[in-house]
Structures are given as C-alpha cells and as structure tokens.
C-alpha cells in the first residue's frame, strides 16, 4: 500500500484559519499590542536621555545637573519593566489560547476523518502532527511570539525616533535595508524547502521511535535490539544532518547581516560628522543617533532570526490546518429501512483488486446472522461496509438506524476504567456502567481492581487480559446502545476459556438488536439464527446452521475441518 500523506494547507488558507481563530480574541490582541507599544516607546526615551547627559557635559554644566536625567532614566526603566510584563503576559495569553483552540479543532477534525484516509497516510502522520507539530508551534508561541512583538515594535519605533532626531539620520540608517531585504529573501528561498525536508525527517524519526518503543517487548524477544537501534540511529542522524544544514544556512545569513550592520553604522556616523560640522546637529544628537542605530542590531537580528521559527511554525501550522480544512466527509447517505438490505455490493481497497463482488443480503429486524469463511473471503470488509466504516465502491446498503461495531482492533483508552466506558455514553451514571459491566459478566473483576472503576487502565496503567479487554469493548457497545450491532471476531484473541465467557457476553450484548457476527469459532455460528458463508468475496451459502451442515456444501466441510480434529465421533457441542 503506497503512502498518501494527509494534506498540507496553502499559506493563504493557513492565514485565513489563523485570523478566524484570533477574531474572538480581538480585544485581547489589541490590548496586548497597545501595552507593548507603550512599553517600547517608554524604553526609547533612554537614548535621548543619555544624549542629553552628553550635551550637559559638553555645555560644561556642573556634576549635579546630570542627576535629573539619571532619575528620569530610573523612572523609564521601572515603567518600561512594568509595562513589558503586562504586555508580554497579554501577548502570551492570546497566543496560547489560540494555540489551544487550534489543537482542539485539529483533534476534532482528526477524529472525524474517514478511516481509509488515516490508514493510507499511516496513523504516525496524524500522531506526528498532534505531538511534534503542536509542540513546535507551542514553542514558537511561547518564545518567538513575545520576542517578535518586542523586536518588531522596537525596530519600527526606533526608526521613528531616529527620524524625530533628524530625517537625515533615518535616511543614513536605511542604507542597510536593501542588504537586509535581499538577505531575508535569499534566506526564505533556501530555508523553505529545507524545512519541508526537516519536517519529513522529524515525522519519520517519530514514527520509528513509536514503532520501536511501542514494540519493545517484541524487539527484546526476537533480539532485534541492534536492528532497531540502527533504525532509530539512521533516522535520528538524518534529522541531525538536516538540522545542521539549516544551521549553516542561518549562519551564512548572519554573515550577510553583519555587512548590513556595518554599512548602516558607518553611514550614520558619517552623517553625524557632516551634520555636526555644519551645525545642523549637536554632538549629543549625533551620539543619540549612533546609539539608536547600535541598539537596533539586537532587535533586527532577533526579528530576522525569528523568520526561522516563524517559518518552521508556519510549516507546522500548515500541516495542522491541512487536516482541519479537510472537507467534512459527506454523511453516509444511506436509505433507512426496517431491516438491513444489501444489494449489488462491491468493494476494492486498491484499484483493480476487488475484495467483494455483487453481494446481496437481507437481515431482518432482530435477526442474528453469522458470517463464516476463510481468511480473505471478505467477511471483515462486508462487516465494515455494513457498519458504515468504509464507503462501498458499488451497490447500496439500507440500515435501520445507527450501527455499532466491535472490531478485532481492540484498544483500552489510557485513564480510569470508568472514563473509558463513558466514551460510549458520556452521561452514563455509575449505575449504568455497573449494569453494562454486569451484562458482559465483567463487574466482578472490575470491582476487584485496585481502585475499582477508578483504576487507571490502558497503556501505562493496570494491564487487562484479552478477555477483559473484549468484555470492555462489548460493555461500550451496550452503553452506546445502537439498534444494529456488528461484531468482528470479537472472541478471537481471548483463547478458548475466555471465548466461552465472551460468547455469553455477546449473546447478552446483541439482545434486542439486529446483529451481524463475523464468526471465527464455529460454535458461535451454530448459536445464531442464520449462517452466511463467504468465499472469494461472494456469498456462497446461506441458511440455518443445521440445514447447511447437512447440505454437503462448503459450510459442511468447514464444520468437518473444525470438528474433525476431535477424536470422538459424536459431536460434543450438541
């Protein structure tokens, strides 16, 4: 199966979604911006105050005269610090709140993606986006956003202050702009593709770590430690190499910025020289201008370097928005009917490899039907199509209302057991949970867990047995309470002793529901109203267990294979 990664949004869409997210927090955004402007403006009074000290000394004033500007400097420092605290807190609040909404929308969207799409992309793609990309953006919001706000304002307002001293100083300072502009463009051109490769390498590394760490027990059992260590090392090294290439690019970028710095500084000094000589400016003003320009180095560098973080955050953002922006899959538009009616159903996962051909099947309300057949006969596919998890390539399916499904893919959600169950019905009372567990015969063990229903289960928590996990899956289905239940090899992993427990549990679970059961154990098929046998993607036989057994067809020979290993001639099942 070829990989088909989930989409990445265009820059325009990313911006639009971002603005959309900021809109409800307009007041916060404006307030934060205003306070930051105040804080930065106050800070800019520092250089003229220092310049005035120079002028006072130049004018031969007494030592006492400089006390006033010094006190003003102290006042500037304290006010600037206070305003900066408030401004940064507001800006962070805005960024973090928007980020939280963004990741929530992402998870919301991811949860509603069609499974086929997730499987084509590999679940690592989604996981990498929700962990790596989110944490990258979080870092940018935490560090780059406040820095960007500070530096951007410092640059704009300092240039303004230079113009207030004398427009010619501003003109001299602007000499450096073409160099910086050109450098920034050169950088962005090269950095974009490099970051794209870095993201891919990061995703691959994450994927490998999840594979290796999640499968650590298997790795140890098969002595694959060296192989897996090498795989992680290879992906980590690729990521490191690409990072270093990025670093080299950034450093060449800095070298060019130094040229711009020197050109601008020399120009401001030369301008000062001629303006002082012609009497157009005092030495103090020339000093303030030089100090202003010198104090621009740090924020200019910071802002230009932040292009870096902004770019990688932008790439990460585009990956999140790409998923957020996926069109809502059209609701499965299935005709409703009093019973399940499947007609002319065909399906293929890959073009040209059909797994179902022209299947017709009717299941009456309240009827329990078992699907039987060899691996690859198309049982699971038919079950998934009826459950509405996949969309059929051909044919129609009518169902009487919602369909709940328990598949072979079991999962225990990390957290308290009660929380796991409440995913199926969030408003369930403790009594509801107990009742559902009772019906699948699981209450006894659930209550003997260290902390009862509050025991943390799932990865990192209390380990449940295969049978318990399956009982939990059935209890969820009872809580979700759909009129139609599809069960796919739900007893498969529990072993025979557990299978008996589960078969009973399944019986109570499907009570009062229309049920389709993919039967692995033929004893399970024997207990249903009707058995449907599949082979090569087609239905080949259909009828009650007893009738098929004596018909001499495929089901009869399957039954032979299953019961044939038994040494007794009479069937102990009856």
């Amino acid at each position: 199966m070829s990989r088909e990664l989930l989409p990445v949004a265009t820059a325009a869409r990313t911006r639009a979604v971002l603005l959309d997210l900021i809109r409800p927090h307009r007041a916060l955004a404006l307030g934060g911006f205003a306070v930051m402007v105040v804080a930065t403006s106050i800070g800019l009074l520092t250089q003229p105050l220092l310049g005035s000290i120079v002028d006072l000394v130049d004018a031969g004033e007494s030592a006492a005269a400089i006390t006033a500007p010094v006190l003003a400097l102290v006042a500037v420092a304290v006010t600037q610090g206070g305003a900066m605290t408030a401004g940064l807190a507001l800006v962070s609040r805005l960024g973090e709140t928007v980020l939280a909404r963004l990741r929530e929308r992402f998870v919301d969207r991811a949860m509603r993606l069609p499974l086929e799409q997730v499987e084509r992309a590999g679940s690592g793609d989604l996981t990498a986006r929700v962990t790596g990309d989110v944490s990258l953006i979080a870092e940018a919001v935490r560090v780059a956003l406040p820095e960007m706000a500070r530096s951007g304002l410092a640059i704009v307002l300092t240039l303004g202050a230079l113009a207030i001293l004398d427009w010619r100083f501003l003109l001299a300072a602007l000499i450096s702009v073409p160099v910086q502009w050109h450098t920034a463009r050169w950088y962005v051109r090269h950095a974009g593709p490099l970051y794209a490769r870095q993201r891919v390498a990061g995703g691959a590394q994450q994927q490998q770590l999840l594979d290796t760490i999640g499968g650590a027990k298997t790795v140890r059992a098969f002595r694959l430690e060296a192989d897996h260590t090498a795989r992680v090392a290879e992906r980590s090294n690729t990521a490191v190499d690409l990072t270093m290439r990025g670093v080299n690019l950034v450093l060449r970028f800095y070298s060019r910025l130094h040229v711009a710095e020197y050109a601008g500084l020399a120009a401001v000094l030369v301008a000062g020289f001629f303006m002082v000589r012609s009497g157009a400016a005092s030495i103090g003003t020339a000093t303030a201008a030089a100090l202003y320009f010198h104090s621009l180095f740090a924020p200019v560098n910071t802002a230009l370097v932040l292009i870096d973080d902004a770019q990688s955050a932008g790439a990460a953002l585009a990956r999140l928005v790409g998923v957020i922006d996926l069109p809502e899959p059209a609701a499965l538009d299935r005709p409703s009917s009093a019973r399940i009616e499947v007609s002319g159903l065909g399906h293929s996962y890959d073009e040209g490899r059909p797994v179902l051909h022209d299947v017709d099947l009717t299941i009456d309300r309240g009827e329990r039907v078992a699907l039987v057949g060899a691996s690859g006969a198309g049982k699971t596919t038919l079950a998934k199509l009826i459950a509405g998890i996949h969309r059929p390539s051909a044919g129609t399916i009518a169902v009487p209302g919602e369909v709940g499904m328990v598949t072979q893919d079991v999962h225990v959600f990390a957290g308290p057991l009660a929380d796991d169950l409440r995913l199926a019905r969030p408003d369930a009372t403790d009594a509801d949970l107990r009742e559902a567990l009772t019906r699948v015969d699981a209450l006894t063990w659930a209550e003997t867990l260290p902390e009862g229903l509050a025991t943390v289960v799932g990865e990192g928590g209390h380990r449940l047995t295969a049978t318990q996990i399956q009982q939990l899956a059935l209890a969820r289905l009872i809580l979700a309470d759909p009129p139609v239940a599809v069960l796919d090899e739900a007893t498969a992993e529990a072993g025979s002793a557990g299978a008996r427990v589960l078969e009973k549990a399944i019986e109570t679970t499907v009570e009062g529901r229309t049920a389709l059961i993919v039967a692995h154990r033929l004893t399970q098929a024997a207990a249903t109203d009707r058995v449907v046998v599949m082979d090569g993607g087609r239905i080949v036989e259909s009828g009650p267990h007893d009738g098929l057994r004596s018909s001499g067809g495929r089901y009869a020979s399957l039954w032979e294979a299953w019961s044939g290993v038994r040494p007794t001639s009479e069937n102990p099942l009856e």
Binding site: M1, T46, I53, L56, T67, V70, V74, T85, A86, L88, S92, A100, V107, A110, L115, V118, S123, V134, R142, Q207, D211, I213, G214, T218, A221, F222, T229, V232, S236, V247, L251, Y254, S255, H258, V259, V270, L291, H294, S295, G376, E402, T407, D409, F413, A414, G460, A466, L477, P482, E493, G495, A497, R500, H520, L558, A561, V565, R566, P567, L573
Partner: protein, 551 residues
C-alpha cells in the same frame, strides 16, 4: 539529573570549547563596536577631523570581519554539539528501553516515552548551545569591564559589582519559572499522550460512534494544559519585565557615575559615550544570561525526566552465565509460584512438542513471563539444561529461548524484513505465504507501523512465521492462531511438527487443532498442573480439559 546534563556537555567537549572560544572572540568584537563609536565621535565628529573619521571607520570594518567569522564558526560548533548530544541521549534512551532486563516502559505511555526521546533529548542537548552562549556573554561582560576600568576605575568597579548582582537576581527570578515550566511540560506531554492515545483507538471510537465524546475529553485535557501554560507564561513575563527594569536602573547608575566623571573632566566626552554605549551593549549579554537561565531551567526539567527513564528499575536481574552450548533444550520448572501459578512442577524433554492448556488465561500469561524471563518467579526455579534462568544473561537466554506472544507487534517495513529474511519453509508452515500472495508486492510488500495495514489473521500468521524463522532451540508460542480461520489453522497444525523437528516447542493454547499435534499436553488449572497426557487421552478422561478445549 546532573549526571545526564554533565554527560551531554562533556560528551561534546571539543565543539563546546571551540564554540565557547570563538563565541568569546565574537563578543569581544561586539564590545569593540560601541568603544569604536565613542572613538569616532571623540576623534572624528567632535574634532571635525575627516582623515581620523576614515581611519577609524576602517578599523571598525576590520573588527566587523573578525566578529562575523568567529560567530559563524563558533555558533556552528555550538549547534553541532547541541544536536549531537541530543542524538546521543536519544540513542541512550532507546537502548535503555530495549535493554534485555526491561522495565523502562513500566508506567509510561509509548507516546510520552517518544516525546522524551525527541523533545526532552533536544532540550538537554540545547544546553550545549546555552553553555557556549553563556561563555561568550560572560566574555563580553569581562572585556567591557576591562575597557571601562581603563577609562576609569570607579566606573569599571560599578559595572563589575553591578553585573554579578544582576546575574544573581536573574537566577533567583528563574527559580519559580523552573517549577512552572516543569508543570507545563508534564501537562503538555500528558495532553499529547492523550491525543496520541485517542488517535490510536480511532477504530474503536468509530465503531461505537464515540468521536464526539473523545473530542470533549481532549478539550478538557487541552484546557488543563492551557491553564498550566498560562501560569508559566505569566511567570516568564514577570521575569522578563523585572530583568528589563533592573537592567535600565543599572544603566542609569553607570550614566550617573560616568556623567559626573566627565563633568569633572576626569574622562573625555568620547569616553563617556563609549561607557554609555558599553552599558547599553551590556543589556545584550545580560539578556542572554536571562535566556540561558530559562534554557537551563527547561534543560534541567528535561534531564530529570530522562534520568528517571534511564534509572527505571529493571524487571529482572542481569545474571551472568551463558547457556551451555550446544543447547539441548530441556526445561525444568520446580515448585514455581508466580502471580497466579501455585507451585508448578514440569519437565520438558529436548525436542519435545509440549501442549499447555490453561483453563484460566492468567495462568498462561504467568507461565509465559517466567519462561521468557520478563519476570523471575516469586519462588521456585526455572532451569534450561540444568542452569537456572535467573542466573542467565537475559539477552543470551533470548537468543536460545523465544517466547512469541500472541499480541506480538509487527514493524514498519516489508513482509520479508518482518519475518527476518527469506524463510520459505517457515512462511509456508505459518500460512504466511498466503499473506504474501494477498499483499501487493508479495514478500516485498509494505507493512505499515505495528502491522496495522494487515488484518488480525494476517498479522498472526506473519508473527508466527517470524517465530518459526527465528529457529530457536526452545520456542514457546502463545495462542498463535486465534484470529486464523479453522481451515488454515488445521493446515498450520499439520506442518508445525515438521518445521520444529528435534527442537523443543511449547504450545500454550486451547486450540484443539494445535494441541492434537503435541507429544503430550499438560492441563493448567487453578495455578497447578492437574493432568498430563496426549490430547486424545485427555479428551476422553478429563472433563475439565474437555470443557477448556472443546466447548
């Protein structure tokens, strides 16, 4: 935690030193810039001397070239050290997780562990860059102080006394930040763990239509994480604000002392400009210090998490002995009690195919963990060829004894890679040859991470093929065919003996098809072995066995 940080730095000594030296040179150059601005104003602007202006602008250009190059190569060394240290920690973590003695995954989500191996390793590695920056910043401060002392001793002393005071205050201020940052990172790791867990269970959620409930659950976690982040952000804003205010006050003091000295004629106007310029310049290195402090705080929190994983207690002790070669493959359990097992005695002859039918699956799981030595029994011994497993090196043991779990993971790669090479006999015996036929690309077809692109039955057959292909002297398989259809299961059972001939094989299962091919079957009931005989005999004579296996 300290050890982790120290290893991360000392492992990259060379680059850290090169980075620090060149970084220091760069900062020295940066100090010269305001000094030269003062000189230009003094000699050029104030005196109206054009040749002097030109001369000093050339000097300024030379300084720029030097500082530019030293920065470029210094920062490169620093970043390289950061990246390599992060890589080394990542590998150390992976090696600890894969350690034959196990134990590192206990109580940790794979998502959280992965986060530690990526984000935390990166943060600790970044401490190298912080060290380099701290050294350069310190150099900048020292050079500035020397220049200032040259201009005037009292002025230099003000800077020399004021700077450490500022640094000390900065350190004090970053303390509460460390707590908030730790809390925030824990919650962020938890939030991303929850998101990854929900995405992993996507199929289950879709099956019961629980997408909305899952999203609501994530919102709560995300909200908690946001609250913690905002607390950390407020603390950081306050710290930045205080550093800005303190730095401004410090500059005012320098201006006061310098201004009075200039007014009394003890220093020149140009020297005053240099002094003030230097004081302004000092904001840079001082802010770098504030930043470095914050980085160290985060690095420490990350190093603590890494140290915790590295120091996680092992599930089993090392054991030093090697299995004696050639391995005959006899096993003896004497009075083994562990979890649900209560005094199990069992002998398995070399080359025997033994069936183990457990009435309670928990007994099977306990037995498997003793045989594979993922745990040592609470009492009693398990011996391989007369040597207690507890005395053996677990890695060496697993090269001889393979316990193949029924939920064994497959990995991303081709089918062939998953099986461990071309093993046609093992593939055919496990029915995995049919999986290859169904897969686009055959044995070179792609299997996605954790084998999720395959069906349950396909996964099980590939996992069994891998277990058979590993060809260990002792193979213990647990319920290898639960998701396989009856026809295929019968075929697998018929080929199993042949592919495992002369080597010890234990089938822990309740499948009658598999138990029927065993030389002997033991019945595990209530934590004890209650009967032992060939399958056919047990079926006729033991009612418990009949119910366990056939019903």
């Amino acid at each position: 935690m300290r050890a982790v940080l120290w290893r991360a730095i000392s492992g990259q000594r060379r680059d850290v030193v090169v980075g620090a030296v060149l970084g220091a040179a760069h900062q020295a150059g940066e100090v010269m810039v305001p000094v030269l601005i003062g000189v230009v104003i003094d000699q050029g602007v104030a005196g109206g001397d054009l040749p002097a202006l030109a001369r000093w602008l050339v000097v300024l250009a030379v300084v720029y070239v030097a500082l530019s190059f030293s920065y470029r190569f210094g920062a490169r060394a620093g970043e390289r050290a950061a990246e390599r240290a992060g890589h080394a920690l990542r590998m150390e973590l992976v090696e600890r997780v894969l350690d034959a003695r196990g134990g590192a995954e206990e109580g940790r989500l794979p998502g959280a562990l992965t986060n530690t191996a990526t984000e935390d390793a990166k943060r600790v590695g970044a401490v190298n860059m912080s060290v380099m920056l701290a050294v350069s910043a310190l150099t900048g401060i020292v050079v500035a102080a020397v220049v200032l002392l040259n201009i005037s001793v009292p002025l230099g002393l003000v800077v020399l006394a004021g700077t450490p005071l500022l640094l000390f205050l900065g350190h004090l201020l970053s303390k509460p930040l460390e707590k908030a940052s730790e809390d925030q990172q824990d919650r962020a790791a938890h939030a991303s763990g929850v998101a990854a867990d929900l995405i992993k269970g996507l199929r289950v959620l879709k099956g019961i239509g629980a997408e909305t409930a899952a999203v609501a659950r994530y919102r709560v976690t995300s909200g908690d994480s946001l609250a913690a982040t905002l607390r950390a952000a407020r603390a950081e804003a306050l710290q930045t604000g205080l550093v800005v205010a303190l730095t401004g006050v410090f500059i005012a003091v320098v201006a006061l002392v310098g201004g009075r000295l200039a007014a009394s004629g003890e220093i020149t106007l140009g020297e005053l400009v240099s002094a003030v310029g230097l004081a302004l310049f000092l904001i840079g290195p001082l802010e770098v210090f504030a930043w470095v402090n914050a980085q160290f705080a985060m690095g420490r929190a990350s190093a603590a998490r890494i140290a915790e994983v590295l120091a996680a207690p092992h599930s089993v002790a090392a054991g030093t002995e090697q299995p004696s070669l050639p391995v005959r493959g006899s096993l003896r359990l004497s009075a083994v009690s562990h979890d649900t097992l209560k005094g199990v005695d069992l002998e398995v002859a070399p080359g025997e195919v033994l069936g183990v039918a457990a009435v309670d699956p928990a007994d099977a799981v306990s037995l498997l963990s003793c045989l594979g030595r993922t745990a040592d029994p609470a009492s009693g011994t398990v011996e391989l060829d007369g040597v207690a497993l507890a005395d053996l090196d677990p890695a060496a043991l697993r090269a001889v004894v393979l316990v193949a779990d029924h939920d064994a993971d497959l990995f991303e790669g081709t089918l062939r890679e998953n099986v461990g090479g071309a093993h046609p006999e093992a593939m055919a015996a496990a029915g995995a040859d049919e999986v290859a036929d169904e897969l686009p690309g055959g044995v070179d077809g792609h299997v996605s991470e954790r084998g999720q692109s395959l069906s349950g039955g396909q996964r099980q057959r590939v996992a069994l093929a891998r277990a058979l292909a590993a060809d260990r002297a002792v193979l213990v398989v647990h319920d290898p065919t639960t998701a396989v259809d009856a026809v295929t299961e019968a075929r697998i059972a018929s080929r199993l003996r042949d592919v495992r001939r002369d080597r010890t094989t234990i089938l822990v299962t309740t499948s009658p098809a598999l138990l029927a091919v065993a030389d002997r079957v033991v019945l595990l009931d209530g934590g004890r072995i209650t009967d032992a005989a060939p399958h056919a005999d047990l079926v006729t004579r033991n009612a418990t066995y009949r119910t366990a296996v056939l019903a």
